[in-house]
Every structure is written in structure tokens, then in C-alpha cells.
């Protein structure tokens, strides 16, 4: 008996991918955790965008606009990470049945990666909602610290979208590689710790102008760009802009998204596909390192404080 293996034609493979991606996108969009995260993100965007108590004249409006990125980053990015990891693992659990289907692991993983366009669209919608709110009631200029108009657009408009898609893409990679119980919780904990530590600790605990501190501040998928001295109840009197270039950081974050896709596709890839994924991984790693270096060298050399009268000065180290 002769067995013949006929390769799928490119056109058929592409149509299978689009069908599967559509199915996975619907699963993603209907996942309760994604919907809860998105609902909370809309609520937080409206409350923070409208200034909360400040809009009612109770306290002065704080420099919360540059912090908007944390809302899509946490509520869509981290929640999306969990959703993507769970969806990926649910597909893996049906491995025995799936093997009978005429689709490779790579196509199924690619479909899951394409489904991450759903949280990306959600992140984009949140950015537009926030922009509409801020445009109707623009905050004072000093709350943007030393950041110019392009950097403001990147921090408030581009990075939130990248965080919204990056978290779920990392979730697909984790779902493909880590199968042990507790893996998702462990990864969420590590991710949150890493981001929280890199966002503030190098600036606060080290010489913020040193190259090591500047690299560590950006060696993360999420970082903070500034800090105000006020909170929801006490009005801010100064805003500290952190080191680094938001524009190059956005490219670094995009490269990380690409690396997450490559890591997810690598598992189970065979033949020519494996070679392409491997080469892409190496190329993206080099690009990511270059972007990280440029992000650390660009922007502020050291933290700068801006006050409501528009005066900017270098933070005095203790």
C-alpha cells in the first residue's frame, strides 16, 4: 500500500486560517473575563477621563492623562493575557481530536494570534473614547511634563493599543509552552511584578541618570512615564517626567509582540515554517535590542520636575 501526503495549497491554507481565526476571535470576544475587563476599562476611562471628583470642582485635576495607559494595559492587556492563555490551553486539551483535523499546529496558533486583534480593537476603541473625553475638556499643558506632542500621542494613543494586543499574544505563547497547573497565575504574578518594579524602582532606588537605571526602567513590556505628587483627593503640585524615549519604547514593545508570536508559533512548527519562524525570532530579537538601546539613550537623561507655572527643573538626587 502506498501512502501519499499531499501538501495543502497556499490558498486553502489561507482560507482555513481565516475561518479558524474568525472562530477564535468570536471565542475571545465572548469570553466573560474579556468582557468584564473591557467593561471595567470603559468605566475607568470615563471616570478618569472626566476627571472624577475634579470635574465637579472638588479638587484640582491631577496629571492623570499620561497614566491612562495603565487602564488598557491592565484591564485589556493582563485580562486578555489570561483569556488568550486559557483559549490556547483549551485547544491543546483537545489535541487528540485536533490531530485528525487537516490543520497544522502552526495554523491553529496563527489563528489564535490573529484573534488577538479583538483586544487590540478594544484598546483602540478605549483610546478613541479617552481622546473624545479629553478633547472636550482639555487638561492643562503642564501635566504633560517634558513630553512633546508626538510623545504625548505615543504615550496616550499608541502604547495602550500595543499593551492591549501584547498581553494576549504573550498569553498565547504561555498557553502553548507552559501546561502545568498554576502556570497562568504564576505568569500573571511575574508579569505584574516585573512591570511594577521596572516602572518605578530603577528611578527611585538607583541613580536615575545612570545607563543601568535607564535600561532597567525600559527593559519591560510596560513602564511608567511620569509620576504626580497628588492623588484623587489631593491636587498635584508637580509632575515628574521619567527617563527614556516613548517613541523608541513603542517600537521595542512592538518587537516584543512579534517575539511573542514567534515563540507561540515555534512550538509545533515543522519544516520550512520552523525555519521562517526561527529567522524572524532572531531578526526581531536584534531589532528589539536596538530599539531598547535607542529608547534608553533618547528622551530625558534624568527625571525632570514640572510645576503648574510651567517651570521645569532636574530632580535633585538625595
Amino acid at each position: 500500500m502506498t501512502t501519499m501526503a499531499l501538501p495543502l495549497t497556499a490558498a486553502r491554507s489561507r482560507s482555513s486560517l481565516s475561518v479558524l481565526a474568525w472562530i477564535e476571535a468570536k471565542r475571545f470576544a465572548r469570553h466573560p473575563m474579556f468582557l468584564v475587563g473591557l467593561g471595567l476599562a470603559v468605566w475607568a476611562t470615563v471616570v478618569i477621563g472626566s476627571g472624577g471628583p475634579a470635574s465637579r470642582g472638588e479638587v484640582a485635576r491631577g496629571p492623570e492623562n499620561l497614566d491612562f495607559q495603565v487602564i488598557p494595559g491592565f484591564l485589556v492587556g493582563v485580562f486578555g493575557f489570561v483569556v488568550a492563555a486559557r483559549l490556547t490551553r483549551s485547544t491543546s486539551r483537545s489535541q487528540e481530536v485536533m490531530r485528525g483535523a487537516p490543520l497544522s499546529d502552526t495554523v491553529r496558533t496563527a489563528a489564535l494570534c490573529l484573534a488577538c486583534l479583538v483586544p487590540m480593537s478594544a484598546g483602540l476603541a478605549l483610546v478613541l473614547l479617552h481622546a473624545a473625553i479629553v478633547t472636550s475638556d482639555p487638561p492643562e499643558e503642564w501635566i504633560y511634563g517634558t513630553y512633546g506632542s508626538l510623545e504625548q500621542v505615543v504615550i496616550v494613543g499608541v502604547l495602550p493599543v500595543i499593551f492591549s494586543v501584547g498581553g494576549p499574544l504573550l498569553g498565547v505563547a504561555v498557553g502553548r509552552w507552559l501546561r502545568f497547573p498554576g502556570a497562568i497565575l504564576l505568569c500573571v504574578g511575574i508579569l505584574l511584578f516585573w512591570c511594577a518594579w521596572a516602572a518605578y524602582s530603577p528611578i527611585e532606588s538607583m541613580d536615575a541618570s545612570s545607563p543601568l537605571s535607564r535600561v532597567l526602567h525600559l527593559l519591560t513590556p510596560y513602564t511608567a512615564w511620569g509620576q504626580a505628587d497628588g492623588d484623587g483627593d489631593v491636587p498635584s503640585t508637580e509632575f515628574t517626567s521619567f527617563t527614556g524615549s516613548p517613541v523608541w519604547f513603542a517600537l521595542w514593545a512592538l518587537a516584543l509582540c512579534g517575539l511573542a508570536v514567534c515563540a507561540a508559533l515555534w512550538r509545533g512548527a515543522e519544516g520550512r515554517g520552523r525555519v521562517i519562524v526561527g529567522r524572524s525570532f532572531v531578526g526581531l530579537s536584534v531589532a528589539a535590542l536596538v530599539f531598547l538601546g535607542l529608547a534608553a539613550m533618547g528622551g530625558n537623561d534624568e527625571p525632570m520636575v514640572t510645576t503648574p507655572d510651567g517651570v521645569t527643573r532636574v530632580v535633585q538626587s538625595e
Binding site: 497547573p181 498554576g182 500573571v188 524602582s201 532606588s205
Partner: protein, 208 residues
């Protein structure tokens, strides 16, 4: 008897509880070692990790099989609830460590929050268990860890009852909130761990 106890202990989800508790312990250690403003956030994250660990104690992969055995769910889960001691111990020791490193903050008051997180973790697992999931830990742990972190950070009721017990004036109200939460969780666990074949709590309405 010791052999039976050994068999029961072997069925416990040690690796899952160990991983989540280890994560919480590492976060407590980081909060103690780091001297930046994220220490407080790390402690909250560690407490959420303890709650997540508690959500694994009801995992019973062979649940549908052993549900048919003469040992009731409540009896089996009564043994398993002892596992909550692991994340509880991590939380108590962790808060003591943080309290020693930073005596200016009343960290000990967070013991009540720890108890609340553990109760919420077990309650979420019990509810998912009652809905047919034999091993609800993976889902419950993440939901509890993210959900509790979010509630504490947003503090939605802060005008009336602060979620974190720092404000001296609002301490009694915060304590009451957490005690109420724990009591509600215990009630939900008792209801959620009923055997599937047990008589319903409320008599079913018959249609005429």
C-alpha cells in the same frame, strides 16, 4: 489509619498550592527587600497570590468518580480545607516580615484582608465546583488574584467604607466589611460543597 491519611494527602493539589504560595512568598520577600514605592503594591499582590493559592485547595481531578463514592463532598473537602494553612502561613509570615522591615505602617491590620482573600478564594472555587468543574483552581485563582487586586486598588466604596484598614477613623467599618465578607464566603462554601445528589435547599416547585 496512617496509610489512609497518606492516601488522602497524596490526592491534595500540592504542586498548585505550592506554586501559588511560592509566588506569594517571593512577592513578600521582594516587598521586604525593595525600598521603593511599589512595596505596598507588592504586598497587595502577594496577598492576592495567597487568595489564588486558596482557590486551588478544592481541585479534585477525579471529582466525577469520587462523587459516586460513599464519602461525601463535605467530608472530603473538610480534609482539603486544611491545605489553606499553607497560603495562610505564607501570608502571616510575610506580613510579619514586612512589618518588621517597615514598622511605620500598620501591616498587621492586613491580616484581616488576608483572611478575606483566603475566604474569597475558597468560595470562588466552591461555587465553580458546584457548577460542575472538577478542578476549578486554574480559573478561580486568576479570577480571585486579579479581582481582589482590582477592588483594593480602585477602592470603589472608599467614601463610605475603605477596603484597606489604614484609616483609624474608618477601621471599625473596614473590619466589619471584611468580617461580613468572610461570613458570606463561609456560607457560600457550605452551600457550594453540598453533594450533587443531596436534596435541594429549597423545595422544588411542582407544575400543575
Amino acid at each position: 489509619m496512617p496509610r489512609a491519611a497518606g492516601r488522602v494527602l497524596r490526592t491534595f493539589p500540592w504542586p498548585e498550592v505550592g506554586i501559588a504560595s511560592g509566588l506569594a512568598a517571593a512577592l513578600f520577600a521582594a516587598a521586604t527587600a525593595l525600598t521603593s514605592s511599589i512595596g505596598f503594591w507588592l504586598v497587595l499582590l502577594a496577598l492576592a497570590g495567597c487568595g489564588g493559592a486558596a482557590a486551588y485547595v478544592l481541585d479534585e481531578a477525579s471529582g466525577p468518580v469520587v462523587d459516586a463514592s460513599p464519602t461525601s463532598r463535605r467530608r472530603r473537602f473538610g480534609w482539603r480545607l486544611g491545605l489553606v494553612v499553607v497560603p495562610a502561613a505564607v501570608g502571616v509570615v510575610g506580613l510579619a516580615m514586612v512589618g518588621t522591615a517597615d514598622p511605620a505602617v500598620p501591616w498587621r491590620r492586613l491580616l484581616l484582608v488576608l483572611a478575606g482573600y483566603l475566604a474569597i478564594g475558597v468560595m470562588t472555587a466552591a461555587v465553580l465546583r458546584s457548577r460542575g468543574r472538577a478542578a476549578p483552581g486554574d480559573l478561580a485563582a486568576v479570577v480571585v488574584a486579579l479581582g481582589t487586586s482590582l477592588v483594593v486598588l480602585v477602592d470603589p466604596l472608599h467614601q463610605w467604607v475603605p477596603v484597606l484598614p489604614y484609616d483609624v477613623a474608618g477601621w471599625s467599618r473596614t473590619a466589619a466589611l471584611w468580617i461580613l465578607t468572610i461570613v458570606a464566603c463561609v456560607g457560600a462554601v457550605i452551600v457550594g460543597l453540598r453533594d450533587p445528589a443531596a436534596a435541594p435547599l429549597l423545595p422544588r416547585r411542582t407544575r400543575h
